[in-house]
């Protein structure tokens, strides 16, 4: 397969997953902002932007983090490369370039999302509420994902799509948790308060995992259980364990098909071993923020290795 084709497939997955994450982020933000702000902590919206690394760009264009502006920035703004509109447009554009590597169902799903986005953009903003927008993104992300799973040949292209998905998803799980733990609760005394628990469940809800969590654990929502669920539990579809295992699996299939291992496989295995070899206690001892930061860095390092080995076309 052409390296450029693999690269396009990989980015289709990353963009779709990123659109999904941004929509979830919007949902977390709007829910948390429904809390009375009597506690005197910083604006939650600002914290969200901080966590995703988009705060500076936002401040420059819009100034104060007002909800309406944040919605525009995160959903519609084409100047923001991570906005839902930018991501869906980029995913569809990548899809158009590699039409021959996709089934018509996958193309249809990408193209439909794009066409509907254009219709949404034409609608009067006051008639488009946030809930509808976030639902819309989740639905289309699921449709693309479903078309890929149901119709695509299980060849190297399928593996590169999945590699993109798992990398992006692990990264976003880590970042969403980090929002909660590091940014939203800058002062230690908030930990364990009622506010703390409310935010944890909002986070679960945003990941579409609230019910799953209760089925898996039951009882009270605690920081330890949530960390276990989102980091260590291989049953959780968004956990770092699941994402790392997915990366090991799909990179392994690529290596087998090509009859050659690269640095990427070794790095993926190391990432998985790190998750599998730790405990919630150990994570809290290290500091959740420090642990997550390390995961994000290692995953970025893996992404670089994948790019060098397969996507850049520089491998001789």
């Amino acid at each position: 397969m052409l390296s450029r084709t693999a690269d396009n497939l990989y980015w289709i997955a990353r963009y779709m997953e990123r659109a999904d994450t941004v929509a979830r982020l919007l949902e977390v933000g709007s829910r948390i902002s429904l809390l009375p702000s009597a506690h005197g902590y910083r604006s939650e919206w600002d914290s969200l932007l901080q966590a995703t690394g988009m705060a500076a760009a936002f401040a420059q264009k819009y100034g104060d983090p007002v909800q309406r502006n944040i919605e525009s920035f995160l959903f519609f703004d084409r100047d923001n490369p991570s906005s839902v509109a930018s991501c869906i447009t980029a995913a569809r554009e990548n899809g158009r370039i590699v039409r021959t590597a996709l089934t018509s169902q996958v193309w249809d799903a990408l193209n439909t999302a794009f066409q509907e986005l254009k219709a949404l953009e034409r609608e009067e903003r006051s008639r488009v509420d946030l809930g509808r927008l976030t639902d819309w993104v989740t639905r289309h992300a699921a449709m693309v994902r479903g078309a890929i799973d149901a119709t695509l040949l299980r060849d190297d292209g399928f593996n590169f799509l999945n590699i993109g998905y798992y990398l992006e998803r692990g990264d976003s799980t880590a970042r969403l948790m980090d929002v909660k733990y590091y940014v939203l609760l800058p002062r230690l005394e908030f930990v364990g308060s009622g506010l703390d628990n409310y935010q944890w469940s909002t986070l679960l809800r945003a990941m579409g995992a609230q019910r799953a969590f209760h089925w898996a654990y039951g009882g009270e929502v605690t920081a330890a259980k949530i960390a276990d669920f989102l980091i260590l539990n291989p049953q959780s579809p968004r956990s770092l364990a699941t994402c790392s295992a997915g990366l090991v699996n799909h990179l392994g299939r690529v290596a087998k098909a090509y009859g050659r291992e690269t640095e990427a496989q070794a790095k993926a295995r190391a990432l998985l071993a790190e998750v599998e070899g730790t405990t919630v206690d150990a994570i809290f001892d290290e500091g959740l923020h420090e642990y997550l930061t390390r995961y994000i860095r290692d995953a970025a390092d893996l992404a670089l290795a994948i790019n060098e080995a397969y996507l850049s076309g520089e491998m001789r």
Binding site: M1, R4, R96, R99, T100, S312, R316
Partner: protein, 469 residues
């Protein structure tokens, strides 16, 4: 001016269109609208769109598709086919000649300056004979009709003629929407095109290639207006669709960058201009292209289709001499006629053209896509005068032809069915043999009375049928 209607002779229906008479009569307006919407939805769904240069607007614009087919009888096609193949052979012989000894020029049949000083003449390939002596592997010949047996060649396209995807997709859509038509009429299939194209490209593999050649299509990228066609052909042939950045030269070969490392490429069907092939050879300022490609090409490491330099044969100034090429190289009389053409660069021709300007069609020598042309009888006095000034300023840049009474084919229009002017572009494949699928691209001028069929100027397309014996 009497126009030849390909379906009706007075009230008589010409034989090839016999069964279409009942078909169209039995189609109520509602069904027609329904089918038209269905066709459009299908086209949009498969993503076959056309971006019009210089208009801005929607890059996903559809080319209008007209459901009324254009039909040729077996005998009519047999003659066309012979004429097209003959012309494709002559054009290739000419190319080999002008990059070699230049016999036709020595014999005084074509002025040397028209060839050697032509912008499209590539000095970089002088003396090089491409595999099987083929320069133009896909020859698109634009043909118009003025009577039952009167066919004229409007122009030749020896570089990278586009539009074949419309031939293929129009047929797909017609078969899907009107299967009964295909049961009642015995219509020659066109879907062998991609397999024939693949075989043609493989047959001109370079001499250093041993075993099954690796063929690729080279596209300028997804912003190109014909990108859909490039990806369709790659898909149908099962070959990679590459951009310049995917290819590189190492030693005496060209490779593509794959996830498994470099893979050698033997035949490149390029859909980009000569100028963008190799910045070392043609345009040092170009970011596109593959540095060193021409060296590999000239040393037989890779075949480029069409061959660099093929453009000199389809230049509008050279066009006038194609019938002479047929006689000179093949020793045959041309089966297809040229449209009489005046070269504004010649003093006596210029005088005639300026005198008769309101009656003529004038084109730029290097123009394409229906841009920068004058259709005298359809233009206002001011437009004619403005064009006159342009011709006087640079006569060598223009040729003129009589306004032909192009044939018409019934076409679905707002008010029902009405005759509209058409042309035809068949695609002739030249490799170790010469092949032509029975069909082509019929373009139709949808505006009443209009003679300009280019899709960039509001033209549409029709399915083109060739009936079996």
């Amino acid at each position: 001016m009497a126009q030849f209607n390909e379906m009706y002779q007075g009230t008589e229906v010409r034989a090839p269109y016999g069964r279409l008479q009942d078909w169209v009569a039995a189609m109520p307006q509602e069904l027609r609208s329904l089918k038209q919407a269905e066709a459009e939805a299908l086209f949009r769904r498969i993503g076959i769109t056309f971006a019009v240069y210089g208009e801005g607007g929607d890059p996903d614009r559809l080319i209008p598709f007209d459901m009324f087919p254009r039909v040729f009888a077996a005998a009519e096609w047999a003659r066309l086919e012979k004429g097209i193949k003959q012309r494709a052979r002559a054009l290739n012989a000419f190319l080999v000649d002008v990059y070699g000894r230049g016999e036709i020029i020595r014999a005084g049949r074509i002025p040397g300056r028209l060839v050697y000083q032509n912008e499209a003449y590539e000095k970089a390939v002088v003396g090089f004979v491409p595999p099987k002596g083929v320069y133009s592997h896909i020859v698109g010949i634009d043909i118009v009709r003025t009577g039952p047996d009167q066919f004229y060649v409007l122009e030749d396209n020896c570089r990278t003629p586009s539009g074949v995807s419309y031939m293929l997709e129009s047929r797909e859509i017609m078969m899907r929407m009107f299967p009964v038509l295909f049961r009642e009429n015995r219509i020659e299939p066109v879907d062998g095109y991609s397999e024939k194209l693949r075989r043609t490209l493989a047959s001109v593999a370079p001499k250093k290639c041993k075993g099954e050649p690796t063929v690729v299509i080279l596209t300028p990228g997804h912003f190109n207006s014909a990108y859909y066609e490039h990806s369709l052909l790659a898909d149908l042939m099962g070959v990679e669709l590459v951009e310049g950045q995917d290819l590189f030269v190492d030693g005496e070969y060209c490779y593509m960058r794959t996830t498994e490392g470099p893979r050698r490429v033997d035949v490149i069907y390029r859909r980009i201009d000569d100028a963008y092939l190799d910045p070392l050879c043609f345009r040092p300022d170009s970011m596109l292209g593959i540095p060193g490609l021409m060296d590999v090409y000239r040393s037989g490491g890779v075949t480029i289709c069409s061959a660099p330099g093929a453009g000199v044969a389809d230049d509008k100034a050279i066009y006038t001499y194609v019938p002479d090429m047929v006689r000179f190289y093949l020793g045959e009389e041309p089966i297809l006629q040229n449209v009489p053409t005046w070269q504004c660069g010649k003093t006596e021709d210029l005088a005639y053209v300026l005198e008769k300007l309101p009656e003529l069609v004038v084109k730029e020598v290097h123009g394409s896509g229906g841009y920068g042309m004058l259709v005298g009888p359809k233009s206002s006095r001011e437009e004619v005068e403005r064009f006159r000034a342009k011709i006087v300023e640079d006569p060598g840049n223009y040729i003129a032809q009589p306004t032909l009474a192009l044939s018409t084919v019934p076409t679905f229009v707002e008010e029902g069915v009405a005759p509209r002017h058409v042309d035809l572009r068949p695609y002739c494949l030249v490799g170790d043999r010469i092949e032509l699928v029975p069909g082509g691209l019929t373009r139709v001028a949808l505006k009443e009375g209009s003679l300009v069929v280019n899709s960039s100027q509001g033209g549409g397309v029709k399915d083109t049928w060739v009936l079996a014996e």
